[in-house]
Symmetry: C2
Subunit: 160 residues, 2 copies
Amino acid sequence: MTTPPHASRPRPPANVPDSVELSRRIRDAGLKATPQRLAIYGALIGTTQHPTIEAIHEVVRPKLPALPLGTVYKTIESLEEAGLVMEVSLPGNAKRYDANVSPHHHLVCTSCDIVLDFRDDALDALRPKVRWNGFRPTHVKVQVHGICSECQRRDSTGSR
Amino acid sequence: MTTPPHASRPRPPANVPDSVELSRRIRDAGLKATPQRLAIYGALIGTTQHPTIEAIHEVVRPKLPALPLGTVYKTIESLEEAGLVMEVSLPGNAKRYDANVSPHHHLVCTSCDIVLDFRDDALDALRPKVRWNGFRPTHVKVQVHGICSECQRRDSTGSR
DNA sequence: CTATCTGCAAAAACTTTGCTTACCC
DNA sequence: GGGTAAGCAAAGTTTTTGCAGATAG
């Protein structure tokens, strides 16, 4: 059966793992669990926003006001190589990142640019069936572009 | 002879529309058909490579050796706004573009990074069925990541 | 003719790099 | 203590901008 979408609007109250759990994951991935990594990885886990490096920097600033932007770049690179974080390919100039590395897809609102995660078993079932031209698929990324419910509501009530 | 059932690799011999046709499309889109636009749009139509701005610049160089990179940026922007060209969201730093604006999807080889276009009616049939959380879909972009047939062949014969 | 587009140069935005010091394990 | 990571600054890459002159329609 199809998994219902879990993306309730502004955002689901993030159930962020505690720092002990974050440290464990980071060490399990073969990395040292530094305060910077904890903060950055924690920030990424605690949002559904697919932020840019800049945005991550902003979010972490209260916790680590002196953190240089360059360190965010290096940290995200490490986390990505370790498989804890994924780059999300979206329109726009700056790269965006996601700490949700389990299989999922994206709803992209072309009106407000928000990106919502969703899972769908029917889509996951697609991969093994794919066999185009000798291409051997490993995973399928689906981006559904359209208008989110919030924008639909605003557009119908707000105007006129 | 008949078309073979499987597309042959490096690329299908591009059937590039002539410049009269290109001019018409550009004017129909409400833009002036300048030599720069003809060259750039033609270059993008004539490749299946999803090139970056830099790559387009290279390709066009023989025809317009003095063309500044900045003009390629501006031209692609115009063509994109006019709906003649689309940005393709792929991993990597520079944006990539596609003159194929008809509905299609992408096979991304994670070994050699080539991006192949493909169409699939089953995928197209997906959109109307999508109805996640009040989101109203307009179109679905699918990226299938995996290993292309060329890399499979190379990996099995080349090694050992 | 004239609104649009090109060429050019500077600047802004984004990302990487090299190296020294700090600190996790 | 040793090796990895952070901090810092400079440079590299990619993209945007503003304006003067050129040109397609």
